[in-house]
């Protein structure tokens, strides 16, 4: 088991080292900038495949709902951006599809690289949980101790999420029904973050749409598990004079939305800035080589490569930490909403004195 794992890891490392296309492939041509920082974190219509230096792109299907100049709504689908442009009056400008004159894109359903890695992360998370739960159903881990490194790691992570995240933040009798969500989100985000460390892969969590989707799910779970006291504290804060409520209520209503907003921004900005930092530091080599000649490039590479290795180690830690923080804060927010207040005396007295 360990042997195969080691072999797979080694293969992955070799594959990722052999494809140094961290930058946009066509940087050499003409007056394009040396370094395309945003291009590496942006969403693309292809996924890169390891093992090829500049090629190795698999183009993804485009599905677009659009309206033409007469206001008629059309829906077109094609296997790649190029064939989409051939089939429809769309034109390709700077790798992007541009709607014909007078028309506009209503919704772009296209499958993109970030979406692919989002699916990959989520499918891996679901596959691990389902295959592990089958093992526990058979009795491995319940009647005998967990078998193999894989199940042991899984059990440690699961018990950690259940005890330290769910049960310590949510009332005991309610906590267990949220554990599946927390564990899936934790594993999914961790996988997406870790995939982003591969040079040819895309970081799905460095996309605001992905993190916003996850935050919106947390938002809805929070609202639906809100107790009467939760809503009471929002709309009619107990124990304060009525005129204060005029200030408090708007603030509390705003607070419902700012919490998941901060959740989404935190994960997004962390992964985005981490990736930009790596590219900027590696890019110093090429900027120096361009300005001062190749010798300076080699000189700077001694410094840049060492720093990048250290940053990569840090990023593995940050990838897991951010997944943990997202899960923990989701648990805190849900716990705050689902809490049963045992009407403590302070509130009660204040209510009745007023």
């Amino acid at each position: 088991m360990i042997k195969t794992l080691r072999r797979v890891l080694l293969t992955i490392i070799l594959l990722s080292v052999s494809t140094p296309n961290i930058f946009a492939a066509d940087a050499a041509s003409g007056d394009e900038p040396i370094l395309d920082v945003m291009g590496t974190v942006a969403d693309h219509d292809y996924v890169k495949v390891p093992g090829f230096i500049n090629g190795g792109k698999i183009y993804l299907p485009r599905l677009i709902l659009w309206s033409d100049s007469n206001g008629k709504t059309n829906f077109n689908a094609a296997l790649s951006t190029k064939s989409f442009a051939e089939k429809t009056p769309f034109e390709v400008v700077d790798y992007a599809l541009v709607a014909p004159e007078g028309g506009s894109i209503i919704i772009d359903f296209s499958i993109t690289s970030h979406l692919i890695y989002f699916w990959l992360g989520m499918i891996l998370a679901v596959w691990i949980t389902v295959s592990m739960s089958n093992r526990y159903k058979k009795g491995v881990g319940r009647e005998v101790e967990p078998q193999g490194a894989f199940q042991n790691i899984f059990e440690v992570l699961f018990v950690f999420i259940r005890d330290d995240v769910a049960r310590s933040n949510i009332d005991d009798h309610k906590a267990d029904k949220y554990v599946p969500y927390f564990f899936t989100v934790f594993m999914g985000i961790a996988f997406m973050n870790l995939f982003g460390l591969l040079p040819w892969a895309a970081t799905a969590t460095a996309d605001l749409t992905v993190t916003a989707t996850l935050a919106v799910i947390t938002f809805f779970i929070t609202q639906f598990s809100g107790t009467k006291d939760y809503w009471g504290h929002i709309f009619w804060f107990p124990g304060v004079p009525t005129w204060v409520r005029a200030i408090l209520t708007p603030v509390e209503i705003l607070g419902i939305f700012t919490k998941p907003f901060a959740l989404a921004i935190r994960l997004f900005a962390n992964m985005l800035s981490g990736k930009i930092m790596i590219i900027a530091i590696l890019g110093l080599i090429f900027i120096f080589a361009d300005i001062f000649g190749p010798v300076a490039g080699y000189g700077v590479s001694l410094f840049s490569v060492v720093l990048t290795v250290v940053l990569y180690a840090l990023k593995v830690f940050v990838a897991l930490l951010q997944a943990y923080i997202f899960t923990l804060l989701s648990a805190v927010f849900i716990g705050m909403a689902a809490e049963d207040h045992h009407h403590d005396e302070e509130h009660y007295n204040a209510e009745h004195a007023a």
Partner: protein, 73 residues
Amino acid sequence: MGLLAAGIGAGIVALGAGIGIGMIGKGATESIARQPEASGDIRGAMILTAAFIEGVALLGAVICILLALGIGQ
């Protein structure tokens, strides 16, 4: 102008976040030194509070990135 604003903004954001997280670290290490048996709870609270500060700081950092790229002008 956007680049200048982004540079100054990023500096101030780093300053604020640095002071905040530094104070959390100070508090946490002091309380762990005083009561080593509670280090697990303290570490959890430390990470949680640091995450809140980080959230605000990253909000500023995102705005700096938007300014530097000239998005929304």
